[in-house]
């Protein structure tokens, strides 16, 4: 027995946008109580709105972008050239225990260590604003808080959490390359030009294993998770949910 905590690792490349959100809902539901780290990308690329954002701000983009709404908060994210991840675990888990701030410091600390292996010096923003801050775009990467992870003076990781039923779902988006909707943000390829999502995922996984003392079991979503994701995928891109506010 190693004594290391057992985590699940899910990797779902090129997921349909509504299905991506629905699978995270399934992981948050926690039918399998083991902590889970999921890496994913989007096909087609999509714009995800935060749970409480107003539809009207993004309605003009509906003709040119696939839109979904997340069940986590924060601003909109253009899921184009990035690695997306989610972490689902009980709120009493060592990663999430305590104040929301503490959980961000832990997650972002692990990410910063992974980025350091690429020669990127990422730090929490702290008190001062960033060069990537923009007024009123509604984009997550154009708003920063002291807990955001930044390099080159710009925000490079978008994060949000959902806390319900004693569970936490942490959403994260890490920019590899630029998006026209997210002008001016930090991108990892400025430092690692050939970086691909799978390689970044491998480095993050390694830092989780080292930093949390856990081992990962690479798995596919369970049958019940796949069933829920298939059943709920349409909800996240449906008009009633997109226009809920």
């Amino acid at each position: 027995m190693s004594g290391r905590e057992a985590w699940r690792l899910l990797v779902t490349w090129a997921g349909e946008p509504g299905w991506n959100m629905a699978l995270d809902e399934a992981l948050h539901a926690g039918a399998d109580s083991r902590p889970v780290l999921r890496f994913y990308t989007w096909k087609p690329h999509a714009l995800s709105l935060g749970y409480f954002q107003r539809w009207q701000q993004f309605a003009p983009l509906a003709s040119e972008q696939v839109l979904v709404r997340r069940f986590s908060g924060g601003g909109a994210i253009h899921h184009q050239d990035e690695l997306t991840f989610s972490i689902a675990a009980a709120e009493t888990h060592a990663l999430f225990r305590g104040e929301v701030r503490n959980s961000y410091e832990r997650v972002h600390g692990l990410l910063a260590r992974a980025f350091a292996t690429l020669g990127v010096r990422a730090e929490l923003r702290g008190r001062d604003g960033l060069a990537s801050d923009r007024a009123a775009t509604g984009m997550c990467f154009h708003q920063s808080t002291p807990l955001d992870l930044a390099w080159d003076g710009r925000k490079g990781v978008g994060s949000a959490q959902r806390r319900s039923a004693s569970r936490v779902l942490h959403h994260g988006s890490i920019k590899l390359g630029a998006s026209a909707l997210e002008e001016g943000v930090a991108v990892l390829r400025a430092h690692a030009p050939a970086l691909e999502p799978a390689e970044l995922a491998r480095r993050i996984q390694a830092e989780f294993e080292d930093g949390l003392g856990c081992t990962f079991s690479r798995e596919e979503p369970s049958a019940s998770e796949r069933e829920l994701a298939a059943r709920r995928a349409g909800f996240y891109r449906s008009d009633p949910f997109l226009r809920r506010r």
Partner: protein, 134 residues
């Protein structure tokens, strides 16, 4: 010590008798977890329409801080009769006075006996919080 005139849940809501009704809110601990003392970090609160019937343990609303959305669950069953519109517009009240000015919903309870197995008195809630930190 938190007020002794009400009961608490393990999901950090409180319920208090108020005449024929009950008032429901969230605890100082819940607020602190969400915003770490930065009252401006609470950005939005979604409360139910009056007239809605809610079961004990059911989510009655959601609150958003700059970094998390959290559910708020009803400690008891009943029908919503009023929501605190003032708090919706001034979320900083939850940081300053979660116990009085910071009530969130008024309900006509199905039972006025606040004695469900899930309800904790102030001392038991304190013990629960202390244990959950370790």
């Amino acid at each position: 010590m938190r007020p002794n005139d009400r009961k608490y849940t393990k999901t950090h809501e409180w319920v208090k008798l108020s005449g024929e009704d009950v008032l429901i809110g969230i605890t100082d601990f819940a607020v602190q977890e969400l915003c770490s003392g930065n009252e401006g970090d609470l950005v939005y609160c979604d409360l139910p329409e009056p007239g809605r019937s809610i079961e004990a343990g059911e989510t009655f609303g959601e609150i958003e801080s700059v970094k998390a959305v959290a559910d708020m669950n009803a400690p008891v069953a009943g029908t919503v009769t009023e929501i605190n519109v003032h708090v919706e517009e001034h979320l900083e009240i939850l940081s300053r006075d979660p116990w009085n000015q910071g009530w969130l919903i008024r309900m006509q309870p199905r039972s006025k006996a606040l004695d469900g197995p899930e309800l904790l008195d102030a001392a038991a809630y304190e013990a629960f919080i202390t244990a959950s930190k370790h």
